[in-house]
Amino acid sequence: MMGEATRGVDALQAKNKSVRPLIEARGLRYAYAAGGLDVIRDVSLDVPRGQLSALIGANGSGKSTLVRLLGGLVKPQHGEITFDGARLQTINARARATRIAYLPQTTSSVFPFTVREMVLMGRTPYTARFRFEQPHDLEVAHSALQAVDALHLIERSVMELSGGERQLVALARALAQEPECLLLDEPSAALDLKHRAGLVRHLRRLCDERGMTALVVTHDLLLLDPAFDYLFAMRDGTVAASGAPVHVLTDDVLASVYGDANIRARRLGGRTVVWSEL
């Protein structure tokens, strides 16, 4: 009897351990200039492992800065970030790039790189200096492009691509890093509804089929529920609310996050619809 109960607790602990958050941030504070305004003020959050999460909030609320902190691109002035149990700052940049892929907002290029060259750049962290990509890397690049249905673009120049295609190629480059975690900063900003939905579908599939963890900065409140597992809502450099989409996408939370009482959310046929009264 006793033994059974212990086993039960063990199993629970083991389960808890297996779902330990991939990224844990505690007490983050960050200002771009020393002594300047804190863009991030006392943020603590857990990015759930193997799930698709979104970071929402008004312009200037610190979303981009927060993903850059979580991706290790900038260092917090205060607080600590652990990635898979290890302090993020102790992981060197190249090793980090094999585990975390970060996609910046803009993905335009001045030089007409081919899509193949662009995606192969994702293999850099696996390639020693003065060495070049090997046939294996080409295979990885192929399957990365295939995963986002963009293999047909491989010979094209990135200059000729549409905004949506460029975003897919950037996502393929991130996948070519074979990361455990994707951090995407407004990947759908320049896309039409069809392409935005397509991108969310790709991300959903990556989480479901490959156990990828993804955190996406987005303004697409319409595409959050039920595609996303978890939401973080930011306001003035803090995480004002977090939880499942049904709990975050409510009139009260949205009004407080966006500082606008006109924003409404309603459950409708298994999804949450968000709109603004005009």
């Binding site: 940049a93 892929a101 193949r116």
Partner: protein
């Protein structure tokens, strides 16, 4: 399906950067050898192999004058083209090169200041003048960069405008220094300003190489980082590049290289523009290919340009800078036209 995919990948293996670089280098090496032979052959008097074997004067002329000059042209051309390719990637601007960024102007100002202050008994070749030119070039690149940068973005149009105006200011500064200096030194500055590859013997070449080789190594070392920086800084950083460190390395190496070449040969413009552009249009955009290929093609290019400067027009020797400007200026304007998007910013 998988078989099909395997064969598809097999077909693309030849497109991998390493293999492309090997093929490109083989081709360019042949170009370099041919260019060297042509440059050695032509001159005030075409090379006479029989005389070279028998005549002591002919031998001296060849080994003390023509050979060093051709090697000098090769070294300077290679250096400028390498720097051009690196700066273009760093600033994400295909029109960037030592002249258009004001780097060579800054170097010229530093060098002429050193000459005016009497820091060198000879115009070219004293380490102090190299150092002064290096400092001038370094100051110019930092100044232009800070003028054109707003936050994380370097405005491409502003970068070029700032660079070209800086070149004009430095040019005015050189003229001023020249007027204020005593006659002998002013003449030295004037002679050097015209820019020439006149060289006697190999001493100067060795002294130059002490400054140039570390710069070359640094830029080739940074080629992989520059390949990623050519897309954007955030992408490079997320792929493991220490952006600030690479930037600093490229600034220092470029200033060292441009300062040294300017101190010896004066301002030779547009080599850093034409050569990397030609390489990119033939061998693709991969910066890890562009840099070593520009290095070799740059050597071949300036040797041939100097051969033309020495022989064409039948009016004695032209400054090689005039030839490269005549060839490169129009290429710059043509690229500017193609990059309207860039120039508008």
């Amino acid at each position: 399906m998988t078989l099909n995919r395997k064969s598809k990948i097999a077909n693309q293996i030849s497109s991998l950067a390493g293999r492309r670089l090997r093929r490109a280098l083989a081709l360019l090496f042949i170009t370099l050898v041919v260019s060297t032979l042509i440059a050695l052959w032509v001159g005030y008097q075409p090379l006479d192999l029989a005389a070279l074997r028998t005549d002591e004067t002919a031998r001296t002329l060849f080994f003390r004058l023509r050979l060093p000059r051709v090697v000098m042209a090769g070294i300077i051309g290679a250096s400028l083209a390498l720097v051009g390719g690196a700066l273009q990637a760093l600033f994400r601007n295909p029109l960037a090169e030592p002249l258009t960024l004001g780097v060579s102007g800054g170097g010229a100002f530093g060098a002429s200041l050193a000459i005016a202050l009497g820091l060198g008994a000879k115009v070219a070749g004293t380490p102090l003048i190299f150092v002064a030119a290096f400092l001038g070039a370094g100051a110019a690149v930092l100044l232009v960069y800070h003028l054109a940068r707003t936050g994380p973005v370097v405005l491409p149009g502003t970068l070029l405008l700032a660079g070209i105006v800086l070149n004009l200011i430095a040019g005015a500064g050189v003229v001023l220094i020249q007027y204020l200096s005593e006659y002998g030194r002013a003449l030295q500055i004037l002679r050097w300003m015209i820019g020439s590859l006149d060289v006697v013997g190999f001493d100067l070449l060795w002294r130059m190489l002490i400054f140039l080789v570390p710069g070359w190594i640094a830029l080739i070392w940074a080629a992989r980082d520059l390949h990623l920086l050519a897309v954007d800084e955030e992408t490079a950083a997320s792929l493991g590049v220490d952006v600030r460190h690479s930037e600093r390395l490229v600034y220092v190496a470029s200033s060292l290289i441009v300062g040294t070449t300017v101190a010896v040969g004066g301002q030779i413009g547009f080599v850093g523009l034409i050569v990397p552009h030609a390489v990119r249009s033939v061998f693709g955009e991969d910066v890890r290919i562009v840099l070593p290929c520009s290095f070799i093609l740059g050597a071949a290019f300036l040797m041939l340009a100097d051969a033309i400067a020495r022989t064409a027009f039948g009016v004695g020797e032209l400054p090689v800078g005039a030839i490269t400007a005549l060839a490169g200026g129009p290429v710059f304007l043509w690229l500017l036209r193609r990059q309207q998007r860039l120039a508008a910013i």
